[in-house]
């Protein structure tokens, strides 16, 4: 691989062919229809569930979920196993600088973001998903953080980057990137979740994957300046109650945020996990709105305007509002409620052998710290409390595990998160009873993975 500072390398990992998802979409008979951030197959019947479609043949039980041979240890070459000397042992390996910007092992090629092509008309206005089922701990590697763009990824030139602050302030100011970095800095881990994460599952189990149903979330450490410090610099007028945050991308992404939140914990960040923001995450600077829906975390941020009323942008009226059964919609539903997912076993992580296993999962809450996660193996009848692996941080992904033994029986696996406010992650029935099925956003319901007798795992709906 060429040195990182050559022209060819400028586009970095994004253009590396080794990282291009090898995804193919099966021919779909159903005509699929776009509906905002969520997309429903049209052949659903009247009560909102889907009519039975043909089952993939039995052979697909393990194959269709994209299991990695390398990762499972299947088909090992005996020549490399004890007592033989493994083939990589006798010879010198690659030297330093073979890979000036390190990349994962080629055997981890399957650990990539993936999209669902039929969801959107173009990849510039689309989403892909974090492979949660392949990750450990609570940090999401930068190259695996899901992407959601409304007008593609702009190539912002850092020397030409500017942040403007205007409106109800004493001084309208323009900052360079270097000037932003001269403010006192803050380093914090936060999860970012798209409000539409799981949106395709409101009416039934639709996508057979942990990645596709929960992967619009990531968790990184941000480095940046607190907005309250920028606010002091411009001098906010007493009648300012809202801020409009605006991106410099082709969507001109804009959202209104109440000043109370701005002055609490919002940041302008320029780094994630210790390095500059990735282009697709807002390079060179983005807004961080801890615990609140991802759409508000405006990327490529170019302007903040202080005002005395909300701006009612398209993304807080047409989108990111929650339609109830009576035809009225909730507006300004910003907080991401507590949620959890079992990442293994999951549709992509079949159980391959009988015996002891570690159930693994992630939990998070936009209202604070996770205090407890319970796990059920029988569809929610009986629960055990899982072990939380620290650090358990505010508004941050939290890893949990639970050992279990599998002897070839069917399991209905669920997890239920609780946060420090006492909030309990609800069932889909409880959510539907409250909000109906038209909401699209804020589906934080408990999901069910069914472990079949052959160890394959399905996303199912109980009722």
């Amino acid at each position: 691989m060429a040195a990182r500072n050559t022209q060819n390398q400028k586009r970095s990992a994004l253009a590396d062919p080794a990282r291009v998802p090898k995804v193919r979409v099966i021919e779909k008979k159903a005509k699929l229809k776009v509906q905002g951030d969520v997309f429903m197959a049209e052949d659903k019947n009247r009560n909102g569930t889907f009519s039975r479609r043909s089952l993939i043949g039995g052979a697909a039980a393990l194959g269709s979920v994209g299991l990695s041979r390398a990762a499972t240890g299947a088909e090992a070459n005996p020549d490399n196993l004890p007592p033989n000397v493994s083939e990589w042992t006798p010879y010198l390996g690659a030297g330093v600088d073979a890979n000036p910007y390190g990349m994962p092992s080629p055997y981890e090629e399957h650990v990539i973001r993936r999209n669902v092509e039929w969801l959107t008309a173009s990849t510039e206005s689309s989403v892909n998903f974090t492979p949660l089922h392949e990750l450990e701990g609570f940090v999401t590697p930068n190259g695996l953080c899901f992407e959601r763009h409304h007008g593609g990824v702009p190539e912002v030139i850092p020397t030409d980057y500017r942040l403007m602050i205007n409106g109800l302030v004493d001084r309208e100011l323009i900052f360079t990137l270097d000037e932003l970095k001269r403010f006192p800095q803050t380093n914090r881990f936060y999860f970012l979740e798209c409000a539409a994460n799981g949106g395709m599952e409101w009416r039934g189990a639709q996508l057979n994957g942990c990645q596709f149903t929960f992967g619009m979330v990531h968790n990184v450490q941000y480095t940046g300046v607190l907005l309250k410090d920028l606010a002091r610099e411009v001098g906010v007028k007493p009648d300012a109650k809202w801020i409009l945050a605006e991106g410099g991308d082709s969507a001109g992404m804009n959202r209104s945020i109440p000043i109370e939140k701005i002055m609490d914990d919002c940041m302008i960040a320029w780094a994630m996990n210790g390095e500059a923001l990735r282009p697709e995450q807002g390079y060179p600077a983005r807004l961080v709105v801890p615990g609140w829906e991802g759409n508000m975390w405006v990327k490529w941020i170019r302007r903040l305007e202080f005002g005395d009323m909300p701006y009612m942008a398209r993304e807080e009226t047409s989108k990111y509002t929650d339609l109830m059964e009576d035809g009225n919609a909730r507006m300004f539903t910003w907080v991401m409620d507590a949620k959890s997912v079992v990442t293994s076993p999951s549709p992509e992580k079949a159980i391959l052998e009988k015996g002891v296993h570690q159930l693994k999962g992630l939990a998070w809450s936009g209202r604070g710290k996770i205090t407890r996660v319970d796990v059920s193996l029988d569809g929610g009848r009986n629960w055990q409390t899982a072990e939380l692996h620290g650090p358990v941080l505010d508004k941050c992904l939290t890893r949990f595990t639970l050992p279990f033994e599998w002897n070839g029986e069917e399991l209905l696996v669920q997890s239920r998160a609780m946060d420090e406010t006492g909030y309990v992650q609800p069932t889909i029935d409880a959510l539907q009873a409250e909000r109906g099925v038209n909401s699209i956003y804020h589906n934080n319901a408990i999901a069910t993975w069914m472990v079949n007798k052959d160890g394959s795992v399905d996303n199912v709906r109980l009722g």
Binding site: L55, A205, D337, N382, H442, V460
Partner: protein, 214 residues
């Protein structure tokens, strides 16, 4: 702005953390440069529900038809009905309380100002901020006309963009009623819980999940 929003703002909760006047005159870090009015004008493109920020200009649906056909119809359809997977812009009245809601500028959007704001900043897709102010008013007028909200010769302008009554103006409510859907008992059930465990749907049967090549 709806009465509800006003009532909520008047509630006072939002006022608590506004910077105190004492801080307003200090400039603690002396970083950044003062923006000139021209610099602000070039970037300050938002238009609020009360019309604040709307640039001087006007346009009607008759004039808007041609420019819409030219710049928008390839994706959104001649009548706003949408081509393929691109968004629908017209129709959908009376569907919001059904299980097949069609949310369009006409059936769902509460403010005409949002149409101006969004179309100018983001459309045509891939040619952001390329419309003139008058062209944007003309297209807004065309979409309002197609949604039966105004007559075809009505001039939409900076003076009235904040006053046009949208059909779903009162269709939104706040504040956020969450947390909702919580168990009645303070402790969630741990054993022998009374929950349904029949399988009523499987994603595998829906068969819309992308496969990974092996």
């Amino acid at each position: 702005m709806s009465g509800l929003v006003k009532a909520w703002l008047a509630g006072g909760a939002m006022l608590a953390l506004v910077a105190s006047p004492a801080l307003a005159s200090e400039r603690p870090f002396n970083l950044g440069k003062i923006a000139t009015p021209e610099e602000v004008a070039g970037w300050d493109i938002d238009v609020r529900p009360d019309g604040l920020g709307a640039p001087v200009g006007m346009g009607n649906a008759i004039d808007g038809e041609e420019i819409y056909a030219d710049r928008c119809a390839a994706c959104h359809g001649d009548f706003g009905e949408a081509v393929d997977n691109w968004p629908v812009l017209v129709g959908g009245e009376g569907t919001l309380d059904s299980h097949d809601p069609v949310k369009t500028t006409g059936s769902y959007w509460p403010y005409a100002s949002t149409m101006y704001d969004y179309i100018y900043r983001a459309m045509p897709f891939g040619e952001a901020q390329s419309l003139t102010y008058d062209e944007t008013y003309q297209i807004v007028a065309f979409l309002l006309y197609m949604n039966d909200i105004i007559e075809d010769d009505f001039e939409v302008s900076h003076e009235n963009i904040g006053t046009i009554e949208m059909p779903n103006r009162d269709g939104f409510f706040m504040p956020d009623p969450r947390p909702d859907a919580q168990p009645v008992a303070s402790e969630p059930c741990m054993t022998n819980c009374d929950v349904p465990t029949n399988i009523i749907g499987r994603a595998r049967d829906i068969d819309v999940t992308p496969e990974q090549e092996s």
